[in-house]
Symmetry: C2
Subunit: 190 residues, 2 copies
Amino acid sequence: MDAKAVLKAHIAKVVQLTDEQFDYVFSHFKPHSYKKGQAIISEGDKVDCEYFVLEGCLKSFYINDEVKMYILQFAMPTWWASDYNALYSGSKATISVDCITDSQVLSLCNADREKLCNEIHAVEHFFRWRTNKGYVASQKRLLSFMNNDARHRYEELMALYPALYNIVPKQLIAAYLGVSRETLSRLYNS
Amino acid sequence: MDAKAVLKAHIAKVVQLTDEQFDYVFSHFKPHSYKKGQAIISEGDKVDCEYFVLEGCLKSFYINDEVKMYILQFAMPTWWASDYNALYSGSKATISVDCITDSQVLSLCNADREKLCNEIHAVEHFFRWRTNKGYVASQKRLLSFMNNDARHRYEELMALYPALYNIVPKQLIAAYLGVSRETLSRLYNS
DNA sequence: GTAACTGTGTGACCTACATCACATTCAAAG
DNA sequence: CTTTGAATGTGATGTAGGTCACACAGTTAC
């Protein structure tokens, strides 16, 4: 399935666009190929775009003063990633995004998204829906953080996204769970 | 300022509605008065509405199997609260909402919100904007949870919402920070 | 081949915070 | 004014998980 078909199917799950509307929407997306390890957004960058994953796997992450990394999100195919705070507010990136594996993505810049949302009501509806999803997922993860210990969160993650286990180094899984890699190692070896 | 004016000012910060449009939108909101301690959404309820706070203070919270409470959000005037997962998905409430102080709120039911979003493009834009805000705030809080210790999170919260210190029992602040009330007590007495 | 680098396991120790127990303060109700 | 109960403070002790140190793969670079 090509980029266009993937995006079309993704949007069609939520709203109906005519073919002309979709073609118009799609014309605002730009395809990109990235290699494993390549950065898409780095701390301090001006953030203009968000990214829709076609193939591969991205991560969005924060690195603190002690150079410890925390992963906000793994982005698999048909997921979106960016530093949304920076994207919406126009501030510099504090969240970075890079590639865990070789990846194909489509970029959509903020101005174009807003333009499309303004021009096509259904597109605005789509993005409201998508952000809702993200919001609810984020709340759930927050609760899981408060409520559950590391083992529980690990099992939750593996149940939800078993594919991650093979694709993603365990260091990164630890950084997503908010534990040290040593602790994670001890968790599943017992 | 009456309910109508408060909501109008709140929406006007984001989108422009004509007076007729706003009157129409407002006609879908219902005013409610609640007493301190009164429940608005209880675990297991069918969730039909979200709530816009005019006066007072609500909390949305989760209670786990060991009857420990975790607070997702304090809702002050002009904030919104509900169990959004249940509201959007039609499932039963796992998140509860109740009143920390006597409160005045406006309710908007899910079907009406969707209807209004569909009928008036600007309203859909408003709700997309609002959910964006919530999403970004939730991500920030998640990061703070992973990155910072309890003292840091406490100071962050007090810097952001100093008003909470006077209004909200410290038990509840602890439940928001995700620490025991004993730990919180030790934190600010040193 | 070997070097260098990145990822992972494992032991020894340390710390932030939870839990339990009880004392105290404060506010509401009689 | 007294009683009751909720909210808060504080000590003693337990534990999940962090940190540091080092060993041992598995890859990539030469």
